[in-house]
Symmetry: C2
Subunit: 232 residues, 2 copies
Amino acid sequence: MREFKKKARILLVDDNAEHLRGIKELISLETNYDIVGTTTSANIGINLVKKYHPEVVIMDINLPEKDGLQAIQEIEKLELGTKVLVLSGYDDSDLIFRAMKLGARGYILKTMSSAQLVYAIDEILAGKFYLPAALSSRFFDYFQQSFKAESASSSEENLLTYLTSREEEVLELLTQGNNYKGIAGKLFISETTVKTHVNNIFQKLQVNDRTQAVLYALNNGFGRKVRAKISA
Amino acid sequence: MREFKKKARILLVDDNAEHLRGIKELISLETNYDIVGTTTSANIGINLVKKYHPEVVIMDINLPEKDGLQAIQEIEKLELGTKVLVLSGYDDSDLIFRAMKLGARGYILKTMSSAQLVYAIDEILAGKFYLPAALSSRFFDYFQQSFKAESASSSEENLLTYLTSREEEVLELLTQGNNYKGIAGKLFISETTVKTHVNNIFQKLQVNDRTQAVLYALNNGFGRKVRAKISA
DNA sequence: ATTGATGTAAATCTTTAGATTGAGAAAATC
DNA sequence: GATTTTCTCAATCTAAAGATTTACATCAAT
């Protein structure tokens, strides 16, 4: 079934020692898994990741000392290709969203069956992502919600459309923090020409200075970049 | 099986007339669906949504006149609870991501089986989201990638931490497009004091002017908002 | 008690930004 | 062919921004 012969190294992180044993037994039944460690501490978990380079880390989120989300982030920062499967007691939208944002490959609830856990591990080992339908819906609801306010503002007339292509170039350089001299040098035109363009941009965007122009640009999808209203 | 008795109104939008007929026949076999219209035009499709208020719109993305993504956005803007299922020929990550971002409830490929299409429609009618595993993986890859650069930059030293609380207030007002006079008025301090603060901010953020300061602030998670590197 | 950080403010000066007017050349549109 | 946009540039002017120095009061920490 699977395209790898070697056993997959798995690390368990859960603050509840009993739960830890339970999962360990469950997973031990699967011959393809090799549990390289279990711990109740996020910090120890991170060190175990550094030591054993497990393919998968099954991680509880509500850990005592260190936040599970932070642990995910730190594991991702190691760039060892370690895949984190979150095993949480909470189906909170924000938790799911943040876990996935920080690099988790899957998120399942503790109430789910052992078969589902094994399935999730297999999917993740195969390079896929795994979110059960119910959690997936929560994720997407949250995801789309975070873009809603933004598209509402873009429902108004976007003044950026009135800019000429040259003005767009100038504005692009403005959004990179250039002054007149810098823009003139980069576009190989005189400084006074840049001033003309910038003044025309101000008129069209109905702003008074470059800072406001830059802010308008960033908040209205300029340069194919969008400012998402997502809490860090 | 399903918890609604009334037939679900469905609208088909696809620029390929043959394909349109094919889908129509497929869906007609399902007794629970009522196809209220088919069209090859995005604009006509939007008008049909206004007229018939279908539960589900099955929409092709690469339409001639108007972009399918834009059509999704406009349908969402109507706020009729219409659920859009994207039926696309392309499994491009960016397309999937943008479609979901704009409010699509599902995304399936034209190469998929009719059973899968029906399943997708049912899931969406039940209020869930539907993304096949392969497309889901593409989505999450793209999603996580869009946050990666950001967390990388935050791994560097964040100069914003050196600011005093008063300087943060001043910077906050700078990021709202205020000039010296505006900031002075809002903080009930003199303009020269504001200049002092602003100059100190420049020193600490290692920038030369207010535009660069504002850009630094926005790109480094100032004000609990984060700029996601996501294409519009 | 002294030190250091912070917040406030003024004075002065240089530089940049922004507003306005006018104007020529090329390209697109009609 | 005439007209309109667009891009270019200059000159001039006012306003704002930014740099620098000095100074004083407060508060927290040593």
